[in-house]
């Protein structure tokens, strides 16, 4: 009788964070009630329990927030030296790091992602973005973006639910470092860490109005995008909404950067370091339940090693632990919302109907909450919907190729172009293939690695503009003196 190494429950304590029963809008440095008193609830997707009531901002509230941001820009923020702005950003970064556990638990509760990811990835990377951009604040003249780069003014930012705090950091840190003020709308299913961040802004004595947070759904975002006194819109989310934003602001003076969907190819050559490639495949698609715009959702594996790679992948997936996101040993958490679960379910059904073979490891899913077992489709071809459409869930489509040319052709054969992965022991092949992939980020022998120093963004329908690095600063600066 073989012993079994059962891991006893190891839950992170949720008592480290205080969740208020209701939240106002963060405008002009304080929490205020919405004009028409409307609110909506945010829930824990792992249990469906209500966490808090959150205000729903209408056009009047958005106007109030934009005015607060404009006032802060004119009177304070644009007059501060870069060094002074940098001090505030360093302070915010340090407070985020000090309150990391609070942020991690809250993110996991509101989003459904495993605590080990919010603890080890989301929160530290978010703090790192503030540290990184704090350093740029007084060095913009030397960023290689022209002799006298100028801030734009008031920036409207709309972010998604998959990395609520991290996307906030990607948006707010560069905007503030470059001297802009911000009105940010978090996603309606995951507003809580943004509201905790508002508390951090107060704790850091950030001048009122520099950061404003308006919660709400699509209508709130639309009001923000349409507001005439916004100088720039930054959006991360679906390609459909991104296109609609581009149409809305066409003909206005507003600038726009978009970070949209993806259908990344993760290409495994026959000489790949196979055990690490399997880890990269797992990390590429099951990290954050596959709710990742740059997820490696299409595995392109060389046909000569496909059976071996799939066998190793399936064996590995049997050790993935799906369940309570607050348990420190959980690898895959809950799907963020009922709507997203329905979308994943629909596409998986389409995959089966179109003839691909569906496989999942044995796992018991909790009864309450939104869950989807890690899923692998083999026998997928380019014409299948699951090879074309972004599923945004823990579902991998496996395709094969015969030659490097065929791998490149298949990888590029998508309207998206956000990211890609290459697995091979041959350095020359990495360089040659990366050169030919039409994707904003190409990872070699790794996947889903994020660093504030590295620019991130898409080709084609994955958007335009870059976030992070020196290139990311340009999205928030007038570098031509024409503004």
């Amino acid at each position: 009788m073989t012993p079994r190494f059962e891991y006893a429950p190891a839950p992170e304590s949720r008592s480290v964070v205080d969740i208020a029963s209701s939240y106002g809008l963060f405008i002009g440095g304080e929490f205020v009630d919405p004009a028409d008193g409307k609110s909506f609830k945010t829930i824990n997707p792992a249990t469906e329990e209500k966490l808090a009531d959150v205000s729903e901002a209408n056009a009047a509230d958005v106007d109030k927030a934009v005015r607060a941001a404009r006032r802060a820009y004119d009177r304070t923020w644009s007059r501060l030296s870069g060094a002074e702005r940098g001090k505030y950003l360093f302070r915010i970064a340090r407070i985020m790091a000090e309150r990391a556990r609070e942020f991690a638990v809250l993110e996991t509760l509101d989003n459904g992602k495993p605590i080990k990811e919010s603890r080890d990835v989301d929160v530290p990377t978010a703090a790192a973005h503030f540290f990184y951009h704090a350093g740029w604040a007084d060095k913009l003249d030397y960023a290689g973006l022209g002799p006298n780069p100028r801030s734009l003014g008031v920036v409207g930012q709309v972010i998604p639910w998959n990395f609520p705090l991290l996307m906030l950091a990607w948006k707010i840190a560069p905007a503030l470092a470059t001297g802009n003020t911000v009105v940010l709308k978090p996603a309606e299913t995951t507003p809580l860490t943004a509201l905790l961040f508002a508390d951090v802004c107060r704790q850091a004595d950030l001048p009122p109005g520099v950061v404003n947070i308006v919660t709400g759904a699509g209508a709130t975002g639309q009001a923000l995008i349409e507001h005439p006194d916004i100088d720039k819109i930054a959006f991360t989310g679906s390609t459909g909404v991104g296109k609609s934003i581009a149409r809305t602001i066409a003909g206005t003076r507003k600038r726009l950067s978009l970070e949209l969907g993806g259908k990344a190819a993760n290409i495994v050559f026959d000489d790949a370091p196979v055990d690490q490639a399997v880890e990269g495949i797992v990390n590429g698609i099951f990290f954050n339940q596959g709710h990742v715009c740059c997820a490696g959702s299409r595995l392109l594996v060389q046909e000569s090693v496909a059976d071996d790679v799939i066998h190793r992948l399936q064996r590995r997936l049997q050790t993935l632990r799906v369940g309570d996101p607050l348990d420190k040993n959980t690898d895959v958490g809950a799907i963020n919302s009922a709507a997203q679960l329905a979308r994943i379910t629909e596409l998986v059904k389409a995959g089966e109907a179109e003839g691909a073979q569906r496989w999942s490891p044995e796992c018991t899913l909790p009864e309450r909450g939104y869950w989807f077992a890690p899923t692998v489709f083999t026998g997928v071809s380019q014409s299948h919907r699951i090879a074309q459409e972004e599923i945004f869930g823990p579902v991998l489509s496996v395709l094969t190729f015969r030659t490097p040319d065929e791998a490149v052709a298949k990888a590029n054969n998508t309207p998206y172009g956000l990211s890609a992965g290459i697995w091979t022991d041959k350095g020359s092949r990495i360089l040659a293939i990366a050169d030919r992939l039409r994707a904003g980020v190409v990872w070699a022998n790794t996947f889903n690695r994020f660093d504030p120093t590295s620019p991130f963004g898409g080709y084609k329908e994955s958007g335009y503009g870059r976030e992070g690095g020196r290139q990311g600063l340009a999205a928030y600066l007038d570098t031509e003196g024409t503004h």
Partner: protein, 315 residues
């Protein structure tokens, strides 16, 4: 195995160099990720007892005396006199000339005696001397032989020589009649092999030549056992079983001193090779001070309070 014994050095090299490469960043990240598993309460208690039962309690000093070996054997049988329910260790590991003393001291306890042999730790001696060293220990009753590979030969590309020496030592581990053969543990001394690709090749070479166990280190060279190296060797035995149906054991040795470390290794065994390896027959810790910390943690779980070093016997 696989007809390799009849192959030339060149063929052996081609085969070993055809194994998939190892990405250093990736394997180290995987080991670090497994180290974040949180082992609490009942699983911690189970894991501590399992780890104690997997220890090769080791003394390999020039200053070893019969008295030192006897007291080590006493601790092996009764690790914690304050709790007779504490499991025994798997084996006592000594130099060849101490095998008789250890055998006598351990009597019918069931605890194995492992002897290091083949000009341990350097392995720099002729094959004849290595075989004589091994025969001596086998004759004195060693249940297990921990041999070292010829790292010089390996690094110079003479895989065939390494293979032949392992196979020759394996032969002299055999006992006539019904007497059980000594189990052969092959020490790769991964700290001297330096690269992960070399560790993978050496693991496969040792298994091809008939190793019952592959072992990381002598404990005399730094770095000794590390998590990524052990992870790689666990992948090797896992893949070997898929290829041949045979199980080979793994023994990290040297540098594993705390219960936390031991539990991390057990997590690796479970998630990389599989729970079949969670037995002293297939996984061992080569360690001297690890037992003390495991006993302290065990007392803590039993009584709810930390005691201190003076509440665990030193040998």
């Amino acid at each position: 195995m696989l007809g390799v014994a009849s192959l030339t050095n060149k063929a052996l090299r081609t085969w070993l160099h055809g194994l998939p490469g190892v990405d250093q960043v990736g394997i180290e990240a995987r080991a670090a990720a497994l180290a974040t598993r949180s082992i609490k309460t009942t699983s911690k208690s189970w894991a501590i007892d399992t780890a104690i039962g997997m220890i090769d309690l080791t003394t390999l000093e020039g200053a070893d005396t019969p008295g030192k070996v006897r007291s080590l054997c006493a601790k092996a049988q009764l690790p914690d006199p304050s709790d007779l329910g504490t499991p025994q260790v798997a084996a006592v590991c000594v130099y060849g000339d101490m095998v008789g003393i250890a055998k006598e001291a351990l009597g019918s306890s069931g605890i194995h005696v492992a002897a290091v042999a083949t000009a341990f730790p350097s392995g720099r001696a002729s094959l004849a001397v290595k075989l004589a060293d091994t025969k001596d220990a086998v004759k004195a009753g060693a249940d297990e032989i921990d041999m070292v590979i010829d790292r010089g030969a390996f690094l110079s590309g003479d895989y065939r020589l390494v293979f032949d020496q392992i196979a020759a030592v394996k032969e002299v581990c055999a006992r006539p009649g019904d007497a059980p053969d000594a189990h052969l543990k092959v020490i790769l001394e991964t700290g001297e092999l330096a690269t992960y690709d070399n560790v993978r090749r050496a693991s496969w070479l040792a298994m091809l030549a008939g190793a019952d166990f592959i072992k990381t280190s002598t404990g005399k060279v730094q770095p000794a056992a590390t998590m990524p190296v052990t992870l790689l060797m666990l992948e090797a035995v896992r893949d070997w079983r898929e290829l041949t149906g045979e199980m080979v054991g793994v023994k990290p040795a040297g540098g594993i001193r705390t219960s936390k470390d031991a539990l991390r290794y057990l997590v690796m065994v479970s998630e990389i090779a599989g729970d079949d390896w969670l037995s002293p027959d297939w996984f061992r810790f080569g360690a001297s001070s690890l037992l003390t910390d495991l006993l302290l943690q065990r007392q803590k779980l039993r009584t709810g309070a930390y005691s201190g070093a003076d509440y665990v016997t030193i040998d």
